[in-house]
């Protein structure tokens, strides 16, 4: 059997998140998938000639045995100017999609995605910034993980193999964005596609199970459907992907560029 992750930077092994590595059809680029989907998509005019497709699934799944492609680099663009104060559609969608909850147990709770209110110290402008795992190109969480439980898939998605995680919390110590969480008790209400486990680490998966089925992440979908339409998902490595054009047009920034982590989440209006 072919290991779908054989092009990732970790040794192959039995995968506890088989769904996350579910097959994707070969020979069909994301651009083509997007084009095929344009009919049902919500389109946004970004700048003259730049139209981004949001909120609709590209509709292509990866076939069995096909590895994640190193030619791809999945990422997000979040235009903070579109994030209305008090809107938390992305957070709610992530909770529903993955079955995590926050609120009852203080800092014991996970926050795969959270809203950070950020006020600039010089001019006082306040932003509402959705913060999730930044799917770093050089992820400190992966580098410190003693067992390869944290790994970076060939297409840039950083994941935790819950069957290899020994619960040392070194990745939680190492992530500069507090985007990694430790499960400190028994779980209920788990989703079949997202096995979680007491005593192991977790975080945003970029909705890898949806991506592998040709869909966009749940937060992006919810943001387009009921939020401010601030979030875009795409292949940062594909020059023809609309997200590239948007990045070329818009003033964007990434978190802590000084650390040189190569984060895959780009923020507009930051």
């Amino acid at each position: 059997m072919t290991d779908p992750r054989r092009t990732s930077d970790r040794p192959t092994s039995a995968c506890p998140m088989a769904e996350t590595d579910a097959p994707r059809p070969a020979g069909r680029s994301r651009r083509q998938a997007l084009a095929a989907f344009a009919a049902g998509a919500a389109a946004t005019m970004l700048a003259p000639g730049v139209v981004l497709i949001t909120g609709a699934a590209p509709g292509a799944a990866r076939p069995p045995g096909t590895p994640a492609s190193p030619a791809q680099r999945w990422g997000l663009l979040i235009e903070l100017g579109h994030c209305a104060d008090g809107c938390a559609r992305c957070v709610e969608a992530c909770q529903t999609e993955h079955g995590w909850h926050a609120g009852d147990h203080g800092a014991h709770d996970p926050h795969w995605i959270r809203l950070v209110s950020a006020t600039d110290d010089t001019h006082g402008r306040t932003l509402n910034l959705p913060l999730m795992c930044q799917h770093c190109a050089a992820p400190p969480c992966r580098d410190v993980c003693p067992t390869h439980a944290t790994f970076r898939r060939a297409d840039g998605i950083v994941l935790v193999d819950r069957h290899r995680c020994i619960g040392c919390r070194y990745c939680v110590m190492a992530c500069p964005f507090s985007a990694r969480f430790f499960t400190p008790g028994a779980l209920t209400d788990q989703r079949p596609h997202m096995p979680r486990g007491q005593g192991t680490a977790e975080g945003c998966t970029l909705c890898v199970h949806r991506i592998d089925q040709g869909q966009i992440p749940a937060c992006v979908e919810a943001c387009a459907a009921a939020g401010g339409g601030a979030m875009r998902f795409g292949d940062l490595a594909d020059p023809d992907d609309p997200i590239r054009a948007a990045l070329a047009e818009l003033p964007t920034a990434r978190l802590r560029p000084d650390l040189g982590l190569g984060t895959a989440v780009h923020y507009g209006d930051l």
């Binding site: 092994s13 950070v116 110290d121 410190v144 995680c165 190492a174 969480f181």
Partner: protein
């Protein structure tokens, strides 16, 4: 050179067995705490997603650092060939092994999934300093045990030079790894520094010698033996020297922070505004662990100096590890941030009782290993073993 006479620790009524009973009870309680943590999950501890490493790591780091430094006397005897320290060489190696066993027990049992420990060997990530430390810790244990054998079994004495040198080099690499474990964390400003490596080497030399200076008279008392006053004085002065170097490197660490962007806020937190952490820094690390320890060490009170060093050292490890996590991460420098997760605000960490019981259990494991080994093997020189023969040099 005349053969040194070693003996088993004597069983004095009312000493050895009651003390072992107390330690056994502490170990049972510690294992119980570990079991409760494993079943109920870390939610019953004070450790959170803001402060993922708490009191168990403080105990573990203290013991692992002490393990490296406890070897000082064996190194002086074998590498620097000082005959007057030779009688204490086996005990020095034993205390190193005992501290390591205690510290590693804590590190392993505090894992979220301790049952998967083997993965650190079978699936080791060569990029991870943590994975390297697993190799360094187990290797150090093997080398220290091998060295112990060369000193207590004369048939292997010819090998003692090699094991002595190897153990000495190994412990420096090990302590470098322990320091870098924390020093590489880019998101934890208070400890993100290469200075952590030399600082931890120095702390290890200091704490290990202090633990040895407490263990020697402790074991001598248990067996009804004596220690050599002149030798204790010399070791006490050496401890004073290590304390001074550690304090200097701690100052260097903070001075380096002052040159980093936002570094002043970080230093101000530790030195002025950090509440309990500031109090522990000044009272524990600087007051007790440095000033008091120095005065006692050079004032001819080696045991008291060692006690001050150990208590102050524990405070030092606590401040170093916990304050670095309590300080909010600089996710958006130049912006004031708030969130439901507590971004931008200081995190709180209140160690739970179960963490204290667990940590003390680790100390009890170390002490029990040392005492039981002294009863099973001829490790103590006769005077300390209670056999009445003055065998320690000086």
């Amino acid at each position: 050179m005349a053969a040194i006479a070693y003996d088993l620790i004597a069983v004095r009524p009312g000493r050895l067995l009651p003390i072992l009973g107390v330690f056994a009870a502490a170990i049972v309680a510690g294992l119980g705490a570990a079991l409760i943590m494993a079943l109920a999950g870390h939610q019953i501890t004070g450790m959170t997603n803001r402060v993922p490493w708490g009191l168990p790591h403080v105990f573990a780091y203290f013991l692992i650092l002490s393990a490296s430094g406890a070897l000082n006397v064996a190194v002086i005897a074998s590498v620097f060939r000082r005959a007057d320290y030779k009688p204490l060489e086996p005990l020095s190696a034993l205390i190193a092994v005992a501290c390591l066993v205690g510290g590693l027990s804590l590190l392993v049992l505090d894992l979220g999934r301790p049952d998967r420990l083997m993965l650190t060997m079978t699936s080791a990530n060569p990029r991870s300093i943590f994975a390297w430390n697993v190799v360094l810790y187990t290797g150090f244990m093997a080398v220290a045990v091998a060295h112990l054998i060369t000193v207590i079994d004369r048939r292997f004495a010819w090998f003692g030079g090699i094991t002595g040198h190897t153990a000495n080099i190994w412990r420096f690499v090990l302590t470098t790894g322990t320091g870098l474990d924390l020093g590489v964390l880019v998101g934890r400003e208070l400890i993100h520094s290469a200075v952590l490596a030399p600082l931890f080497i120095s702390l290890a030399l200091t704490y290990g010698l202090a633990v040895f200076l407490l263990a020697l008279p402790g074991l001598a008392w248990l067996g009804g033996g004596t220690t050599d006053r002149a030798l204790m004085q010399r070791l006490g002065r050496l401890l004073g020297l290590f304390v001074a170097v550690s304090a200097y490197l701690a100052v260097v660490l903070q001075a380096v922070h002052l040159y980093a962007p936002d570094g002043r806020d970080v230093v101000a937190f530790l030195l002025v505004e950090g509440g309990v952490y500031t109090a522990l820094f000044w009272g524990g690390q600087i007051g007790l662990g440095t000033v008091v320890a120095l005065v006692l060490a050079f004032g001819g009170r080696p045991i008291a100096a060692a006690a001050a060093t150990v208590v102050g050292g524990f405070a030092t490890v606590y401040v170093t590890l916990i304050s670095a996590q309590v300080l909010p991460q600089a996710i958006l420098p130049g912006m004031t941030v708030t969130s439901a997760f507590g971004d931008g605000a200081l995190a709180t960490y209140q160690p739970a009782l179960v963490e204290w019981v667990f940590g003390v259990g680790g100390l009890a494991i170390a002490a029990t290993v040392a005492i039981v080994a002294c009863r099973l093997f001829r490790i103590l020189p006769k005077a300390s073993a209670g056999a009445g023969v003055r065998a320690i040099g000086g």
